[in-house]
Symmetry: C2
Subunit: 225 residues, 2 copies
């Protein structure tokens, strides 16, 4: 299970910003859930804390019973690279590397040869409709193409936990469906999947939905008891 | 009128990419139209050419009868800063400047004092729901907040032509409505507005819609004859 226990995140300022306000969330293995809520409500902040990319001001994060928020950076980094695939709201692609190499980099710690990494990267890019753009650099791609490269890179290592921040924000319906198919497939293979989305249709298609409002979490639908 | 006449844009490569393929589009003063189409179909490329930010490989752009594609860079830059407000798909905010100063910079060539620029910037940010984030830097803002700063900056100088590339891509329904209200208000005041959007509801709410498919333009609804 992935669990936030009474997590708060406060940024200094006048007034201080309570980006997360006593958030508790337990996600069992293999769950698929949507995180919705207004712009600025704390969704990305919560996802970053759950993905060990940010530390809370108070409270703790547990992954399979280990209190991750107390681990040192090196152990933390091992947990993260082995298990968590993160799709960023801002993509963060390597500007000097092709789409193929950006995705192949997602396999650098998988112990496979460069040839294998590139083959798997090509398959993944094909699954999001980018088989014809493998050798383009990020600045030679459209907004939605870059987004799909970011999705492909996050998922190429079959992570057991997928944290996706607005993975279809710049996509038309067809590319959006391709991305959701990829997430559903991983889910059927046993991955735990959290998707931040502002698209109602996507949120409502998932078995569980939680909402962030002003840094606080509200369960909407589908929480197990 | 804003007019593309038989415009093509080809990027070298193997094979070459025909991002725009013999596109002709005439937009009269005061029109409000949506540009839709699949990811990678040429929407942003077309908008960049219309906004004089990119030159076509073939064909021409005319603004009020002047063949803009033949002007030198200095004249081009004058046309652009006086009349065109561009909302970028990737935001491009100044990282070291607050939301307030990013938007105030949109008024640098308007001949007003710094105090006036900052006052008008604050009003604009308030209209997109960011009155409480004026002094935050871009890296202290959420994805949707950054998007709204980019919208506010593009519109603060009351441009007569607004070219908006996915202005609501990262926004929840409430912020999305605030942005569309701002565009509708400018339209009622006489501006010409083009909006690239992948959201059906938004596209269908506008009086005219065109679609890009593989670099070619198709009129869907509402073109004047
Ligand atoms: N510098 C470049 N070199 C080669 N191809 C390019 C270059 N820039 C863009 N392209 C290609 O041109 C096509 C059109 O790009 P454009 O950004 O206009 O698409 P778009 O319709 O805005 O897509 P999206 O909805 O994903 O934002 C894309 O397929 C893209 O890969
Ligand atoms: N470094 C920071 N300093 C101060 N405030 C911050 C900082 N980073 C984020 N915030 C604020 O924290 C709040 C939550 O941000 P977060 O990115 O989690 O929102 P979000 O729900 O993902 O929004 P969106 O839907 O727009 O992406 C925002 O109001 C933002 O302005
Ligand atoms: Mg966010
Ligand atoms: Mg685009």
């Amino acid at each position: 299970a992935l669990e936030l226990i009474d997590v708060s995140k406060v940024y200094p300022g006048s007034p201080p910003v309570h980006a997360l306000d006593h958030v508790s969330l337990r996600v069992e293995h293999g769950e698929l859930l949507a995180i919705v809520g207004p712009s600025g409500s704390g969704k990305s902040t919560m996802l970053h804390v759950m993905g060990t990319l940010d530390r809370p001001t108070e409270g703790s994060l547990h992954i399979d019973g280990i209190e991750v928020s107390r681990l040192g950076d090196r152990k933390l980094s091992a947990v993260r690279s082995q298990r968590i695939g993160f799709v960023f709201q801002q993509f963060f692609l390597l500007q000097g590397a092709s789409a193929l190499d950006n995705v192949a980099n997602g396999l650098l710690y998988s112990g496979t040869s460069k040839r294998t990494r590139r083959r798997r990267a090509a398959e993944q890019l094909d699954r999001v409709g980018l088989g014809h753009r493998l050798h383009h650099l990020p600045n030679e791609l459209s907004g939605g193409e870059r987004q799909r490269v970011a999705v492909a890179r996050a998922l190429v290592n079959d992570p057991s936990i997928v944290l996706a921040d607005e993975p279809t924000g710049n996509l038309d319906s067809r590319s959006s469906a391709a991305v959701m198919d990829l997430l559903h497939t991983l889910h059927q293979e046993g991955s735990t999947i959290l998707v931040i989305t502002h698209e109602h249709a996507i949120a409502e298609s998932l078995p569980r939905q939680v909402e962030m409002i002003d840094g606080r979490l509200v369960e909407l639908v589908g929480a197990s008891q």
